[in-house]
């Protein structure tokens, strides 16, 4: 997950050629050394789009972005990221920001920030996050906008939260857009591409009691632990990251700062609350309960056929973390008559930072929510 979103094979090839080029000139290193001595951490800022905290409960914060253009949709959009990583990926930098792109198109935009769970949050469950915190955020967004329903935009694990919420509370969701979201956690076997879906395989290799013991021992699922699993997915890239990748960008200040922004995002790995992590790994990755309509939250079964609002399902064609088939499985299980898919070029992170994806993603979401903005309030 470096400066560009490439497939592992492309990344390896690119990185290898980068070293060869750098070796042949040497100029990048000279410039890079000078740049490194000059750049400070404060120069590397992410998630800078102006926003206001409008609601807070425990460690969860709801942010409302200030408009950057005249609003063209009445019903607001709530972005929900997962507990692995942080929402700031959607606003990495000014010219690579889903948030800014949506605001510039006239969307009224909110985002939920789950905060930094600590050991004290170990007993929080997916039920808490979906049925309580997310529900409260939806209530607050609707209250502020004066609507009954909101548009939801879920990302990765946050997409699963969004899906489950839409199934439990369909009358409160105007439209549901998902991005790089796993629905069928066993569909990695559909394509079975080398280097893709390793987390699915890795998780299934663990016994359920191993997961329990891991959480018992650590309280939470440590952010650095998941970071190590992600690193395993790109073995050579991991070796090249702080030499070849760095060499590739060292001579260009903009590229170097972009690269450092991504590093900053990657370094910000919150721990995943323990009980919620057990549900995530066992009930979803191992037992695949979501797509089977067997997941229960707060004593209620999550029945995906209850998702009858319009659905936009966005996935990345070369996503090695969430293989496309795991996302595409949504089509056959939702009750929505209006179901659209958007396949974006690039990988998991490329959806947010890739040049081509950026041109397609926000306009597609805007078009989707505007189309269904009519008599919703």
């Amino acid at each position: 997950m470096g400066e560009k979103a490439l497939s592992p094979a492309e990344a390896v090839s690119t990185a290898a050629h980068a070293l060869a080029d750098a070796v042949s000139t040497g100029s990048k290193l000279l410039a890079g050394t000078e740049l490194f001595s000059r750049i400070r951490d404060q120069d590397v800022q992410i998630a800078t789009t102006p926003r206001d905290v409008v609601w807070r409960q425990d460690k969860v914060t709801l942010h409302h972005f200030r408009p950057l253009a005249e609003r063209h949709v009445r019903i607001p959009v709530l972005i929900t990221y997962g507990l692995i990583g942080r929402w700031t990926m959607t606003d990495l930098q000014d010219d690579r920001s889903l948030v800014r792109n949506l605001l510039n198109l006239g969307v009224d935009l909110y985002v939920v920030d789950w905060g930094n769970p600590s050991r004290a949050d170990r007993y929080l469950t997916l039920d808490d996050y979906i049925c309580s915190y997310l529900d409260a955020c939806v209530t607050e967004v609707a209250r502020q906008a004066g609507t009954d329903r909101v548009n939801l935009l879920g990302v990765c694990e946050g997409g699963v939260f969004t899906t489950a919420y839409a199934a439990l509370e369909p009358e409160r969701v105007n439209t549901m857009a998902l991005t790089i979201t796993p629905i069928d956690f066993h569909a990695d076997a559909v394509e079975n591409r080398p280097g893709h879906g390793f987390i699915n395989i890795w998780t299934r290799a663990l016994a359920p009691e191993d997961v329990d013991r891991l959480i018992e021992a650590n309280g939470n699922l440590p952010g650095e632990f998941m970071g190590a699993v992600f690193s395993l997915m790109t073995p050579i890239r991991t070796m090249f990251k702080y030499n070849l990748d760095l060499l590739d960008v060292a001579g260009d200040e903009n590229r170097l700062v972009n690269w450092l922004r991504m590093e900053k995002w990657i370094a910000d790995r919150p721990d995943h609350p323990g009980e919620a992590a057990k549900q995530w790994l066992k009930e979803l990755y191992q037992q695949n309960k979501l797509v089977k309509n067997q997941l229960e939250l707060d004593g209620r079964r999550v029945d995906l056929s209850r998702i009858t609002m319009p659905v936009l399902n966005v996935y990345a064609k070369d996503d090695h973390i969430i293989p496309p088939a795991t996302s595409q499985a949504l089509r056959s299980v939702v009750g929505a008559k209006e179901y659209e898919e958007l396949a974006l070029p690039g990988g998991h992170v490329g959806v947010f930072v890739g040049g081509k994806s950026q041109k397609l993603f926000a306009p597609a979401v805007m078009e989707f929510v505007r189309k269904h903005d009519g008599g919703a309030a």
Binding site: Y123, R143, A205, F225, M239
Partner: protein, 292 residues
């Protein structure tokens, strides 16, 4: 190419790469050595009577030794192979141009072919497990009793599982190196020239990536990794039990007690949120209807 700043910069990267692998291996060697020495000093003839109190310890140590030997054998093979690879990588730069490769570039190639970086780069999971699992140093444990032995056993098991996993990782890298060697030999044989450094480097990266991705999907990799994770968790739990015994003696709160408090707090907050939501729904219900 001999400009000092450039030379310095590239050398820094090469050193960084080299040191990462070196540190990982050194840590492993040190841990194994300190464990062995500690064990020797503990199992004195006069203390033999204590051994039955540590059931299974001898068996675990033998298993640890076997795992160490297996890795050592692989290590030897990897070192020999890497020597050849380093020559091949460095020599490739001279192949077409005839110009001698910059010493720092050569050093970078050599570092990349060092098996220590293979384990450090792709086997990072064991370092993470170690970092997560390690609390008090083992040196602090030798004055305790049965509970300490449990910690020791758990540590032994963790080291054994880590070595077994490292052996699988190393086998993967060896497979990658062999495939790379065959490919290079084939290309050289075809036209009489060895590929230039750019092609060589790209070939190594692509070959290693392909083989390692296959390795990571293999049953041995997944099983040994799961065992490593399991043993890391058990080690941590054993440490906690011992720490809690000490904490209880001195009246300090234990992890278990804090977990109890956190569980209660989470449940109370949950009830409070539900109460507040119901309260808000009752108050907001008429207004919501009028908006619709």
């Amino acid at each position: 190419m001999s400009d000092p700043p450039f030379d310095f910069g590239l050398k820094s990267f090469a050193d960084f790469w080299w040191q990462a692998g070196k540190a990982a291996q050194q840590a492993q060697e040190d841990a194994t050595r300190s464990f062995t020495e500690a064990l020797k000093s503990t199992i004195r003839p006069a203390a033999q009577a204590d051994l039955p109190v540590w059931p299974g310890a001898a068996v675990d140590n033998a298993e640890l030794a076997r795992a160490s030997e297996a890795l050592a054998e692989l290590w030897k093979a990897a070192t020999e192979l890497s020597t050849g690879m380093a020559k091949s990588l460095a020599g490739a730069g001279n192949g077409l141009s005839g110009a001698k490769l910059d010493p720092t570039v050569e050093a970078t190639f050599r570092a990349m072919a060092d098996p220590r970086t293979w384990l450090a780069g792709a086997g990072g999971m064991d370092l993470v497990i170690g970092a997560v699992a390690q609390g008090p140093q083992l040196a602090d444990l030798w004055n305790a009793e049965r509970q300490q032995a449990r910690v020791m056993q758990a540590w032994t098991e963790m080291r054994r599982r880590t070595l077994e996993h490292n052996a699988v990782v190393m086998q993967g890298w060896l497979g990658a190196a062999r495939a790379f060697g065959e490919e290079i030999a084939g290309r050289t044989k075809k036209d009489g020239n060895s590929p230039d450094h750019k092609t060589t480097l790209a070939l190594w990266a692509e070959t290693a990536n392909r083989v390692m991705l296959e390795t990571q999907r293999s049953e041995p990799f997944l099983q040994t990794q799961a065992a490593m994770i399991r043993s890391g968790a058990e080690f941590r739990m054993a440490q906690r039990e011992m720490a809690e015994r000490w904490a209880a003696q001195f009246g300090f709160p234990t992890r278990t007690e804090l977990d109890d408090v956190h569980r209660s707090l989470t449940e109370l907050r949950r009830e409070f949120r539900a109460f507040r939501r119901k309260h808000a729904e009752r108050g907001a219900a008429p207004a919501r209807k009028s908006e619709a």
